[in-house]
């Protein structure tokens, strides 16, 4: 995927400011930056939830700027949400069955094919197994603890058989054990050939999982490089520490 000078305004606020970067096939790229840096907004622009004010996005050589969310998903970009949004009143299994109907939603075969067909159920159970959720298959999704809901969202996105997966702070609010399980899961997905763009706050998590990092601050890309380059980059340190100092000043 190629992001080329993408800008997003909200009225006078520039949430994303002419950001460019590429993700190559099979890569796991981390997107970091302080709160409000524009990371989630960029995800929403990529997936067509928000319209870019300017700039272009290409996926597999095709321009996807301006396409509808469902079309972009169909082209092979799966995503999760910062605030989890599983289909809460469906069971865990039913959540996975939704994307498995991908081939039917644009055709009249949506009237003839059933999510109860064996092939879909067994595919869904396989996906749940790899997300360590097979025991929860018949539970209502909203009853699961947050860690499981996060993995359910990832499994649901994977059911689209995406080439690229966008994960928005998947480790937020998880305990140590859940976080480890998640990391294992993400690595497994990445090694199966799916490219991943990962937003994360937890630097330890990022450093251990990604080889390349893009840093946003106030909507602009301020750095790009390997974890060690990023860790010693003065602009990055300032973005993170500077912000804290300012906050400290205000409250003082």
């Amino acid at each position: 995927m190629k992001i080329d000078r993408v800008t997003k305004h909200f009225g006078g606020l520039v949430a994303v400011n002419s950001v460019s970067f590429d993700i190559s096939e099979g890569e796991l790229l981390a997107l970091v930056g302080p709160n409000g840096a524009g990371k989630t907004t960029l995800f929403n622009v990529i997936t067509g939830v928000l319209k870019a004010s300017s700039g272009n996005i290409f996926f597999n050589g095709k321009e996807i700027t301006g396409k509808r969310t469902n079309q972009i998903a169909r082209m092979g970009i799966g995503r999760t949400f910062q605030i989890v949004r599983p289909f809460g009143k469906m069971t865990v299994l039913e959540n996975i069955l939704v994307p498995l109907g991908k081939a039917f939603y644009t055709r009249l075969s949506v009237f003839s094919h059933s999510p109860h067909e064996k092939i879909f159920i067994s595919k869904a159970m396989d996906l749940l197994k790899s997300a360590y959720l097979d025991d929860e298959a018949n539970k209502m999704a909203s009853y699961l603890p947050i860690g499981m809901q996060r993995r359910l969202e990832i499994a649901r996105a994977l059911a689209l058989e995406p080439k690229l997966l966008l994960l928005d702070e998947p480790a937020a609010g998880l305990n140590e054990k859940e976080s480890m399980q998640l990391k294992e899961y993400i690595e497994k997905i990445n090694s199966s050939g799916v490219s991943i763009l990962l937003i994360e706050h937890d630097m330890k998590f990022i450093m251990s999982i990604s080889k390349r990092i893009v840093v946003l601050d106030h909507g602009s890309k301020i750095a790009e490089g390997t974890p060690s380059e990023i860790a010693s980059n003065p602009r990055v340190i300032e973005a993170y520490l500077g912000r804290k100092h300012k906050k400290g000043d205000k409250s003082a």
Partner: protein
């Protein structure tokens, strides 16, 4: 006997209406308080085609269904711009507009309605009440079977997805506009069928038959029975057709009682008498499959 048959015909027609509203509101989550407008479009289309334009009933039947479905699709299309919280208001508005249009259009007979709507005929003879009863029951059964079949297919999955979360549905390749329009069109097609059955049984129709009160009545049926289930829609429709006939006070205070039913159901048994999660439905299951209920409760 004719009286019972007539009630049976009304129950069949309201069953079709309740099931059709259930597709839109129960499955796809699009709350409409203007369903009677589509009922009216079906009735008036069929009446105008046969009375004013000389169509045969059997030609008017598919046309009235098709035209109502198209009107439904248009309503769906025009509501796409609105946030779903406002859909209720829009559909109420549409209901009033449709009734007013019927009232002021001479072609549709104005406030005096359309008279002399023919009964369908079989082998050259117009159906009597007894035959029409079975005709209406036949269509109601067809509706139940069709919607039951549909509820097992991916179309239902798409509806449930947009009901729960439009943004997540889109991320799962489900086009929200497409399936909203599908829901409106399919729902309207059955409302059109109900309108056709009503018009050709009554022989005369007035704009007032399709007013906001009727929309509330249909909504009460599915709320009472259990939104999202076919059995609930059927139960609510049959109960609310027969109850006023046997309990005098229910018919005297109809709108009051509908209002109370909606309020109390929403407060105390929000999934309705026969909804999947309602206490009352679970009771009926205990007598049948006690062990299964116990298992479900564990989860």
């Amino acid at each position: 006997m004719d009286y019972l048959m007539t009630l049976g015909i009304f129950a069949s027609i309201y069953t079709i209406l309740a099931i059709s509203l259930n597709i839109l509101t129960g499955y796809a989550g699009q709350v409409s308080l203007g369903h009677a407008a589509l009922f009216g479009v079906g009735a008036y289309t069929s009446a105008a085609l046969t009375v004013n334009l000389g169509f045969n009933y059997w030609a008017a039947l598919p046309l009235s269904i098709l035209i109502t479905a198209l009107v439904g699709a248009l309503i769906g299309l025009s509501s796409l711009r609105a946030h779903s919280d406002f859909l209720v208001l829009i559909t109420i508005g549409i209901n009033f507009v449709v009734v007013a249009l019927l009232k002021y259009t001479p072609f549709f007979g104005g406030p005096y309605g359309l008279l002399g709507i023919p009964r369908p005929s079989l082998f050259g003879e117009a159906m009597n009440t007894f035959e029409y009863f079975w005709y209406a029951v036949g269509w109601a059964s067809f509706t139940i079977l069709f919607v039951y079949w549909m509820s097992k297919k991916y179309i239902r999955t798409a509806f449930e997805a947009i009901k729960e979360d439009e943004e997540a549905a889109e991320a799962m390749t489900v086009s929200v506009p497409r399936f909203k329009i599908y829901a409106f069109a399919i729902s309207a097609a059955f409302a059109g069928l109900a309108g056709n059955l009503w018009a050709h049984y009554m022989g005369v129709i007035f704009p007032g038959n399709f007013s906001f009160d009727t929309s509330i009545e249909i909504m009460t049926m599915i709320v009472l029975g259990g939104i999202g289930t076919i059995r609930g829609a059927v139960f609510g429709a049959v109960l609310l057709v027969f109850l006023p006939e046997y309990l005098r006070f229910v018919s005297d205070y109809r709108m009051l009682i509908y209002g109370l039913i909606i309020v109390f159901t929403m407060l105390f048994i929000p999934s309705g008498l026969l909804g999947d999660n309602s206490i009352t439905w679970r009771w009926t299951r205990i007598f049948k499959k006690g062990d299964r209920v116990a298992k479900n409760n564990e989860n």
